[in-house]
Symmetry: C2
Subunit: 208 residues, 2 copies
DNA sequence: CCATATTTCTAAATTCTATTAGAAACCGCC
DNA sequence: GGCGGTTTCTAATAGAATTTAGAAATATGG
């Protein structure tokens, strides 16, 4: 044995078979993003991961521990992704350019790249309170990232001086997060969505 | 007896004591808006309504029937409210004015007036499929209302001709719906929120 | 190729709620 | 003040899902 008992971290250096843990976590993210917290049964997760339900308990202490991990990873990955994309920008990029890129990165990651992001977004307000503590810390960091983007743009005069950027930012993130509730890749183009969202910021918050 | 058995409608003309049904429905909306579908237990609803759990079955066929009713009422009330407010506008109001008023009405109703609206919004994507059929019809009507507002504004030249209003509308409704996830009346002013959201539309979608 | 630890399974127990049965309380009315 | 119907309660049932127990299987290392 020696499963999940060592606190909140994730040991399991054993490379070969502990891919199973990852498979289970991936499966949980997938099911959670599709069915939500209420609709996610351990048996479903196990089926997707290709194991029997009790096998999950070898890697996670409980259903809720598994959910919490997915939520945290989701929040974490979104932030990392957006930070990376921003870091890759050339020095010359202005504050408004950086905002546009952040919008692009957030939407594409959430819709294409990561079940974790979708799961994290959709279920943030639906999991029991106690599961929100660790993910909330990540979300706070992400929130700060966006705050800084807006503050920089406003100070540079590229966002209207009289705009309440804090409120605008919350509205914008809401608009982008809610996309998971209606998005259908078959009927809409992701490029157009990104462009429309960017326009919402450029014109909605931009100066002039 | 003679409870809920008569199909999907809601008889109970008996005025006096069938306020209980309303109390239960109100309680369900309140709990549902706060705890979500997964976290809403019949016992909680009953406690808020001031009855014992089994009493609920005198008025509703099942837990899901109760939830469905709340969801439908929520979607219905939002639409009615916005329609009423729009109808009360003077003839002279332009398409952009009408959009501004709709934003105002949607946000104020959702945040101040109705647990039903909040419950309906928060749980739309989290209740089992079968419960979404009847509410979905209401939402479709509401969606059409907004589509018409944007089409009118665009035809009048008050919204940029090149804007994808369908996508912008979905983003806007998402932004407003997501507000229930972060709104705290103690730390933020509702007037400011409304003004910021209106600005998001006026500048984000408006011509010039 | 055997011994040992790791991993996963089957079967069973536990728990948590919705739901039902049936008895009591309540209410208006004669 | 008793009577019939309505409404609500207490107590029991049922069912589904998480979670444990403990046995098999699988891999690992000498």
């Amino acid at each position: 044995m020696e499963p999940h008992a060592t606190g909140t971290e994730v040991p399991h250096a054993t490379p070969k078979s502990a891919q199973t843990r990852q498979r289970i976590l991936d499966a949980a993210a997938e099911v959670l993003s599709r069915k939500g917290y209420a609709g996610t049964r351990l048996a479903d997760v196990a089926a997707v991961a290709g194991v029997q339900a009790p096998a999950i308990y070898y890697y996670f202490g409980s259903r809720d521990a598994l959910v919490e991990e997915v939520m945290w990873v989701g929040a974490h990955l979104v932030r990392l992704h957006v930070e990376e994309v921003l870091a890759a920008l050339p020095e010359g990029a202005g504050p408004m350019d950086r905002l546009m890129v952040a919008v692009d990165a957030h939407l594409r990651f959430e819709l294409q790249l990561s079940d974790y992001a979708t799961a994290s977004i959709r279920n943030a307000g639906h999991v029991p309170e106690q599961l929100r503590v660790r993910p909330a810390a990540e979300e706070a960091l992400y929130s700060r990232l966006w705050r800084d983007l807006f503050v920089a743009a406003q100070q540079a005069g590229e966002v209207r001086a009289d705009l309440d950027t804090s409120m605008f930012r919350l509205l914008l993130l809401g608009a982008m997060n809610w996309v998971v509730e209606w998005w259908n890749p078959r009927t809409r183009s992701l490029d157009e969505l990104v462009a429309t969202a960017q326009g919402m910021v450029r014109h909605g918050a931009g100066a002039r």
